[in-house]
Amino acid sequence: MDKPIFRITNRVLMAAALLVLLGHLAVYAAYAANLMRFPFDYDQGEGFELMDTVFFSRGEWPYRDTEVFPFYSSNYPPLFHVLAAPFVWMVGPAYWYGRLLGFLATLVTAAAIGFAVYRDGAAGGGRLKLLVAGLAGLAYLASNTVYHIGPLFRQHASMVMFETLAVVVLANAGEIAHVRRRRLALAAGLLLVIAAGYTKQLAIVTALAVGLFLLIRQPRRALVWGGMAAAVGVGVFVWMTAATNGEWWRQAIVANINELNIQQSVGLFRLWFSLHGFLIVPAALLALYELYFDRLSLYTIWFVLAVGLNGAASGTWGGGDSYFATAIAATCILSGFFAARTLAGEWPFTENYLSRLARPLRRFGPGLLRAGLIIIPLLYLGYGRATLHLPTQQPPFDTFARVLNIRPNALNGFYDSARTADGQFSAGYADIGHFTTPDDVQAGWLIVEQVRAAAGHVMSEEAGFSLAAGRQVITNPTQLLNLDKKGLYDGGELIRLIEDRAFGLIIFRAQFYPPRLLRAVGDHYRHAESIVMNGFEYRLLVPN
């Protein structure tokens, strides 16, 4: 079928695509190493995830009454923090291990994507299929979204890992002939879904996809196994609600349903497509192929629901581009299948009205498959360019930036293709990804010194300064705001402390507090100093 010239061109382009995506991996690893060395908050709210971990390490719940001192509560499920808790026993509160866990979770996800493409992408094996599997896994790590949320002290990357593992385990579980092995695979896959849900609530979309897939394939199995999984998930939920006097339900569920800004969702959909379009188009084509010519796989149902539901939810308050991470994992798997099938020439079209309509086009089939040998690696090369992001001032990446004439458009000399040349970006896209510098570390310690020197309590919008200074962490601002938006927050006691000037120092960054708290601070505190760390202004306020 394929002439030597096509085969040789294919191998050269595949090698080039692999090199480009390995380059992305090098930038990602350097970024992860840089963040693991940075001892303060990098992304808004990381410190509160560390605080949740500290609570679990003490055997305490972080779901608490926010009306009583220290006015703290978490809105996130526990699993990621429970996994990180042993590190608190070993080395105390620190950011590096949470960031390491997030980074490792993305590597496991990439490996699972690669495994899925190798196992289910096309019949047969071979080095070319292995290469496609590698490209699919690397494509996940090359995504701008995965890059900037992966190595954070946040649970999102771990949720996507559990979701991806669950989907890979369950995709073929129903076809396992050996009864005991099939039951083990179903149980393991459903436990992974539950693990994803108890890592972050957004994993509900994967639970829906799995339920729908089981229902389509065998309704009886869906009811039996879905019922058992629901019993386990609901059982844990009820136990947590009872153990926290209802605060788990109030803080993590009721307060966590936020209003939708559809314009933000639309903007993030456009951004997602502009960055990942080279893989989204083949993924969508494969989904259509399964719909009309094959059986719907779990991967396709997962892809459609993750794109539709998580993409829409990305416009909620507290959402953002990270909500596309699950869809990106699914996109990498389906586009990998498309690539593997095309390179193997495996596109059987079952006889139906659509294949009959397309019959006159069949004579172009061999030509299309030959073109596929060139198009597939070009898709990955195009994707590598579309998602380009790198520091332009740190060696060795500065050399590449100079050669490719890439100019920075983000903080600290960073270039990110998700932004315009003058640094603008879609609402909801996380303003991170740049490397931290020694000046940032020094600025952080300057703030810590102020915290240490303050008389009385310190209320900081980032928990890291208080933790580094050995001070009590007071409030979780975004959670107070979540509760306030639902009319579930009074704040009388905290406002009284602010009015009594009980805080020797208040540190603001984005001012994500309920408005009446901000007004009370404005009336009783004055701006003393601003310290810029990591490109963000930290405003230090002292009593009037």
Binding site: L215, I216, P219, L291
Partner: protein, 71 residues
Amino acid sequence: MFSNDFTLTKRHLGLILLIGGSLGFIGILGIDILDAGREGGIGPAQQIALGLCALSAFIGLTLLPLGDKPA
């Protein structure tokens, strides 16, 4: 339906998508008709939802001729 061998067909899936999409479309339009006092007409979120419902119904329709092939 609850036997070990039962599986949904393309026709079943088509019917589900067709009925679900049509009911969704009517429901979303119904919000405006029933909630007549509300200002602003059909907003951008509703427009997107209407489009998705129509697409769902259309896909459902195209699946019906595929008959008893497993979904």
